[in-house]
């Protein structure tokens, strides 16, 4: 029974990871850059929820405000920091992204100080199901993440913008020749990724209410790991990778001997996977053309 509970916990944190990983993987697939600041967008979303809930007390309003603010922030960051570097070396873009991540963290600390803030979103209690006690937030997270993923997949497959996104990720030059505005698609991608980050921030606060300026850093890096495990650039891959990572984490926390090394184990899996299969579980192989 305990194993089942662990697995369900793992599924729920895997859902959160998958949501963050989706943001990484979409940006990577379309803008061909690793958005290091993605994890910190989660943190900004968390603080927006904190402020809005302080004003209104309504968690749903908080979530909406966070989504709105994160979308605006994501688009602004893309315009100011990443867009001028389109066509420059990947190393330059990567360093700028690290700079943005650092900037967001330090600004948040300057405004909200370093002491953790408590954000009690809602106490939903536990649910008894077949003799298992499962916290309600786990179920909410799981259901919401599944809904979001399904909506996103449908969006990408059936709308004009979604298909344009696929086209840009396949071949940017050809997409441009077909009349797709690449800049607009990249902006939309950043907006969607940031909205997903805001949702992820909401679910993370539901799980543990303490909010600091580095709250997004570690989950961000781990979610990137998830995206790589699933195969970067692939939306189902991000989901699979996130859930695999969540399950590994939940199981590793349960085994007392290796529990303190959980982070190390996850990163070790990443390194080994990259050595054996750099394209991830669902990724496609790409030949480098000269």
């Amino acid at each position: 029974m305990e194993i089942l509970e662990t697995l369900i916990n793992g599924l729920s944190s895997g859902g959160t990871y998958a949501m963050i990983a989706l943001g990484y993987t979409m940006v990577y697939g379309i803008a061909k850059m690793l958005n290091f600041a993605h994890g910190d967008i989660i943190m900004v979303g968390g603080y927006t929820i904190f402020v809005t809930m302080g004003l209104t007390g309504n968690p749903i309003l908080g979530l909406l405000a966070a989504v709105l603010f994160c979308v605006v922030l994501g688009v602004v960051v893309e315009r100011v920091a990443y867009k001028p570097l389109r066509g420059a070396t990947p190393l330059a873009v990567l360093i700028t992204a690290i700079g943005v991540s650092y900037l967001l963290q330090s600004v948040a600390q300057m405004i909200f100080k370093s002491s953790p803030k408590m954000v009690m979103i809602a106490d939903l209690g536990n649910v008894e199901f077949l003799g298992l006690y499962i916290p309600m937030y786990v179920i909410v997270t799981l259901i919401c993440s599944v809904i979001i993923m399904v909506v996103l997949s449908l969006f990408v497959r059936f709308t004009r913008t979604g298909r344009a996104m696929v086209a840009v990720s396949e071949d940017r030059g050809a997409a441009q020749l077909m009349g797709i505005s690449v800049n607009r698609i990249i902006t939309v991608t950043f907006a969607i990724g940031s909205a997903l980050a805001a949702f992820a921030g909401f679910f993370m606060l539901m799980k543990s209410p303490s909010l600091t300026n580095t709250m997004g850093a570690m989950p961000g890096i781990k979610a990137f790991t998830a995206a790589v495990i699933g195969g970067i650039g692939s939306i189902p891959g991000a989901m699979v990778g996130g859930i695999v990572l969540g399950l590994i984490e939940a199981c590793s926390y349960k085994i007392t001997v290796i529990a303190p090394y959980t982070d190390a184990i996850e990163f070790l899996i990443l390194i080994l996977l990259l050595l054996v299969r750099p394209t991830g579980i669902l990724g496609k192989k790409r030949r480098e053309k000269v």
Binding site: L34, L91, L270
Partner: protein, 382 residues
Amino acid sequence: MTEKLKRLKWKNFLNCVVVAAFTLVFGVLSLTGSLNGSSIILIERIAISILLAVSLSVVVGFLGELSLGHAGFMCIGAYLGGKAAALLDPVLGTGVLSLLISLLVGGVCAAVCGLIIGLPALRLRGDYLAIVTLAFGEIVRSLFMNSSDESFGGALGLETPRFDKQSLFIYAFLLVLLCLVVIQNLLRSKHGRAITAIRDNEIAARATGINVTYYKLLVFSVSAFFAGLAGVLYSFSNFTVQSGKFGYNYSIEILVMVVLGGMGSINGSMISAALITFLDVNLQTLLTGDMAVLKNFLYALILIGLVLYNNAPALKGFREKYRLRAVMERIRERKPDPSKERDDEAKWDRVPTKIDMDEVLSVSPLKSQGDETSEPGEEERP
């Protein structure tokens, strides 16, 4: 010709001479007892930062790969070197011999780890490699943090014997000197040109017969070796080594030094490492509590601003017009010395970059003829 050769050599080792001069001056000052404790600590920290920045600069600026785990190599050096020193302490005491053995232990262990991290670097590039190095740094930190109390002190940190305060910085500067000589000789040799060729175009470098595997592993292990040495120095200048110090943030701090100094410039890295460490130590006492974060804010702005300025394609024209070298050349062109001018003289001091080569190759024969007849600089000559 021989005169010119001599001058060139002298210029190449100017930074070594400067470092040696500093070492001498500080040595004399410390012998006369006119250096106080805080400035000695500052000097030690500057030497450690220079070691770290120069070694990272080889990977980032010359090999063109981003390493976010440089603090991890330093961590290995600090823990293993510190442990070696603690074990040697009852036998040898904390003398020069124990320092040397610890340096060797820490440096070699870090270099071996660099070799291991270089292995994924063979298959991965750019973003993936950055994440792998970051993951490596976190793994190292987590392993030392969760170690048992007897082995590496666990969360409390490893207690290390402290070296004689009045002379450690001299050895630190000697190590900086060693690092400069080794790395500059490496980069100026045939091997250095192979490394920059890999940075500019790996596939083309491979096609011309450069052993990419060998050079990547070489660069990673050399860089890790010197970061390990910096770690050992750190453990000797402190009573305890704590794993919290060597996090992701510290790696970023080193990266800021390299970016601020200019990618692919050893002297620049040295100057910015000294400058940032100096500011860091002084700001530490000025900014306390939550204001300490202002420092990180500044780092972030420096990183973004510099990278945008140096790399944005839209600013290319502006950069080329107002670059220091371009401005200097314009000043020099006004008064050329005709006796020293030879048209068959190639500019050996400047290794052409990929962009330069593209420009050279794309010039049409008709246009190049026109260029030869009317050099823009020659017309203005009085």
